[in-house]
Symmetry: C2
Subunit: 223 residues, 2 copies
């Protein structure tokens, strides 16, 4: 029982710091996206394609969360945007405190969008609010149709679903329609994008949505 109490206390403390992060982001009009997915679904590639496509139209910074290595931060740094690497050293998710620390390294007055790439894990990051405006869950077609049903918490928490690697569909026994249906069955209010970071398919639509969301000033969850 004590474990449950302490777990709850950790989450309460996390939520308190998340509220502070959200207040700071709102104050500076920064749209923060918490990108969550399994390992290898293409989060980093999607960020790379997004930065390429936006090509300076928005001022973007990236916080990279990884269990080990700074490989992803190095990939993103090539796009000449501010990048902060958080290495969790075995930790299975980012938390609001780690993000608060990372945010101190960024000049929020010069940002439109803060992309937070979470640790590749479709389970644990669902429980941790980082102060983001919304969670964006990425799933690759190769992961199979049933994943939204098997890992519902993440799909329930997210505002946006990006179905990535659609270029591989011809080679898979996966029906895009069913994958989408399963996700919408868990969360009917999901905004869904279909992308391929290899061919570039869907990147324009996703970036247009991002530009529109920033323009509309939909900056924080629950406002």
């Amino acid at each position: 029982m004590s474990v449950i109490t302490i777990e709850r206390k950790i989450l309460e403390k996390n939520d308190e710091i998340a509220r502070q992060n959200r207040a700071r982001l709102t104050e500076h009009g920064v749209l923060a996206l918490n990108m969550v997915s399994s390992p290898g679904s293409g989060k980093t590639s999607l960020i790379e394609r997004t930065l390429e496509h936006l090509n300076g139209k928005l001022r973007v910074a990236v916080i990279e969360g990884d269990v080990h290595t700074s490989l992803d931060a190095e990939r993103i740094a090539r796009y000449r945007v501010p990048v902060v690497q958080i290495v969790t050293h075995g930790g299975c998710h980012l938390d609001a405190h780690l993000v608060a620390e990372a945010m101190t390294k960024l000049d929020l007055t010069r940002l439109d969008v803060l992309i937070i790439e979470n640790v590749g894990n479709l389970v644990c990051p669902a429980n941790y609010d980082l102060g983001e405006a919304m969670k964006v869950v990425i799933i690759s077609t190769t992961e199979g149709e049933d994943k939204p049903l098997k890992y519902p918490a993440m799909f329930r928490q997210a505002a946006v679903l990006v179905i990535n690697k659609v270029d591989l569909l011809p080679y898979l026994d996966v029906r895009l329609r069913v994958l989408k249906q399963n996700a919408l069955c868990i969360n009917p209010s999901l905004t869904v994008f279909e992308t391929s970071c290899t061919t570039g398919m869907g990147i324009t639509r996703w970036c247009d949505w991002l530009l529109m969301t920033v323009a509309r000033g939909v900056k924080t969850r629950g406002e």
Copy 2:
């Protein structure tokens, strides 16, 4: 600090039950495999192909671990082997206690192999010994070359690596050689298999190894 202490106590308790599980499995000469991977790497498909290929040559039972749903257990049950479903209801890993409970539903005297399919998560299950003889980590080629470097704990803990979905390599910007090198750099003693559950490639080699391992009586880790 109290959190760390309690976490340690949980792991100590887990390891104690894992030792009991291992002792029971050894007593009955059952080879237990703890199958770990990201969601959607093909764990269930690999188990299906294994059961098909073995075609009764070994007496196998399966424990299915899922966050939600019993979809995988239903898939495995078609192969007319004993299946026990564990639903963790949000829990991000199996633990030794859950497996001990599941084992009470199985007649160990009539088994050669117990396959435990863990929750799809490349981080947390690395910390939990279930009493298995060995961890088998599955990675699909679509997850990218860098995953062993980014999630080293799991690759360090495993005795066997199965690289699945090799049929998709022609459509990916992933070099099998580099993926394998990265894994062996983390853990040089890994036994590596390359498989495609779609084409059946590599399944014979994997099953031959399984038959040989059972025949040799390499039944528990550290014996």
